[in-house]
């Protein structure tokens, strides 16, 4: 069999066989286990250390800036961030700039963590309005981000459930960025740019972000310019944070299939290039 014939066979592989291989590589690690060592990167450790060094009981602004389509990647980050903050008895002011699903994701994750995880891990429920609050969504994110620098109440006169902010102990002394100690962004879109350029640069609030892997390379420049204290990039970043807080969750579990599928993709890339070089212009 000459090299042109081999190249023809390789380039003729049905794409559906590749899809099936990827599916199998995703399922098999769940069945037989494929644990991977997790090495913590500097940017994840920096974010962890920053939060760790904030005084216990401080107030954190936590965002849920992601759509339901990226839940698998970013929800583990939200959960890890909440665990870390609540172990330090921090107060969480939650909000979203995403209309489609953002408010309900915030509500679901916060309620689940407050009633289930907090009882198991901390021995007591976290109370809505005392330990956390969900401000929900308001349209026109630029106006929201800028307005919150002057007064949270101008933008959010009520919480997600239409109860006035003044009736909650958690927001009693909080009305602008300077009243919170840290901005923790979990996002799957370009809103991080707005948070950096408005909340950090114009109002001086320190911030860190957990973002989808697609977004991560873009935000490394904010680490270099020290506009961001740390960064979690994709599921790997979430798994690193889970390791740092000593609580392995979904992200750690998902690293097995992810690693195997990556190996599979590298194999297919090599196969494709082999076919290209064997076949030259003839194939």
């Amino acid at each position: 069999m000459n090299r042109y014939r081999i190249a023809e066979i390789l380039t003729g592989i049905d794409r559906r066989i590749i899809y099936l291989s990827i599916l199998l590589a995703t399922i098999i690690p769940f069945l037989v286990g494929f644990p991977q060592p997790i090495y913590v990167s500097k940017e994840s450790r920096d974010l962890y250390n920053w939060v760790e060094n904030i005084r216990d009981g401080s107030t954190i602004l936590l965002t849920f800036d992601y759509y339901p389509s990226t839940l698998a990647e970013v929800e583990p980050m939200s959960r890890a961030a909440i665990k870390h903050c609540w172990r330090k008895d921090m107060k969480l002011i939650c909000m979203t700039t995403v209309p489609l699903g953002g408010p309900s994701i915030t509500e679901r994750v916060m309620n689940d963590m407050a009633t289930n995880w907090a009882v198991e891990e901390l021995g007591a429920k976290k109370i809505y309005g005392v330990d956390y609050i969900n401000l929900g969504y308001k349209p026109d994110y630029k106006a929201v981000l800028m307005g919150m620098g002057t007064s949270f109440r101008d933008i959010y006169p009520t919480d997600f459930r239409s109860v006035p902010l003044d009736s909650f102990p958690i927001t009693k002394n909080v009305d602008k960025y300077s009243d919170v100690n840290f901005l923790y962004i979990i996002s799957d879109n370009g809103i991080v740019d707005e948070w950096v350029t408005i909340a950090n640069r114009q109002f001086g609030i320190p911030l860190g972000a957990g973002v989808t892997a697609v977004m991560a390379p873009k935000f490394y420049s904010y680490l270099q310019s020290q506009q961001m204290v740390g960064l979690l990039g994709g599921m790997r970043g979430a798994a690193e944070y889970e390791k740092l807080i000593g609580s392995e969750g979904m992200a750690t579990l998902f690293m097995g299939p992810q690693s195997l599928v990556h190996l599979m993709i590298i194999f297919f890339i090599l196969l494709g290039n082999t076919a290209y070089f064997l076949g030259g212009r003839k194939v």
Partner: protein
């Protein structure tokens, strides 16, 4: 969706729609199109309801009627003018609203980009390449940043033909850009796979076992 809190019916709807969308990988089919149309319709309906509640009700009618904020009538009028586009005779009036939006956005955007992005990023590039430790990679890292910024900027300098030293420098800039694209592609693959893994776990290990009574 959190499987522990969901009913079998909710999970089955989600599972069916996930499989319908994935069925496109085999070929286009009615199940895929059904799921696509449901998604488009739901999104449009959800947005209409959400914007009505969060803008019209919470930020306009309640403040005007209950709090007496009559100044909000002005932005409301600007909003109404946008609808004049549907009538040829009065459509020019919508330009007033558009002009307001454009002027406002341009002003905010200019300051935000200059103050929040261009200046700090430029400042972060003005570094002493020899400061720091060779062993920890600070010096090579600083030099790579400076070389990357300068050569990439030269690549996008089109006022002179890319020949000689300029051409070679631009080519180095292109290498930096390609490396950046490679990093973006790698991260994108990782992101998309994360989503696939999440959906596969839901279908194969949360929904199907519960559907057939194994779980």
């Amino acid at each position: 969706m959190n499987p522990a809190d969901s009913s079998l019916i909710e999970m089955s709807v989600a599972g069916f729609l996930i499989l319908s969308i994935f069925s496109f990988l085999y070929k286009d089919n009615p199940f895929y199109r059904l799921a696509e149309h449901i998604f488009a319709g739901l999104t449009a309906g959800y947005y209409v309801g959400l914007i009505y509640q969060t803008v019209i009700v919470q930020q306009l009618t309640i403040p005007i009627y209950r709090e007496g904020k009559l100044e909000l009538i002005f932005p409301a009028l600007l909003g109404i003018l946008m609808f004049t586009r549907f009538f040829d005779r009065f459509s020019y009036l919508s330009r007033i609203s558009l002009a307001f939006v454009m002027g406002n956005t341009a002003g905010i955007f200019l300051i935000q980009q200059l103050h929040g992005l261009v200046l700090p990023q430029t400042q972060a590039t003005i570094i002493n390449p020899l400061a720091g430790s060779w062993l920890l990679g600070a010096v090579p890292g600083g030099m790579i940043i400076i070389a990357g910024v300068i050569t990439t900027l030269i690549y996008f300098y089109f006022s002179k033909e890319h020949k000689g030293v300029l051409g070679k420098t631009a080519r180095v800039g292109m290498v930096f850009i390609m490396i950046s694209f490679g990093a973006h592609f790698g991260y994108t693959v990782m992101a998309r796979l994360s989503l696939l893994i999440g959906q596969v776990k839901f279908v194969a290990f949360d929904w199907l076992p519960r559907l057939i009574g194994v779980n």
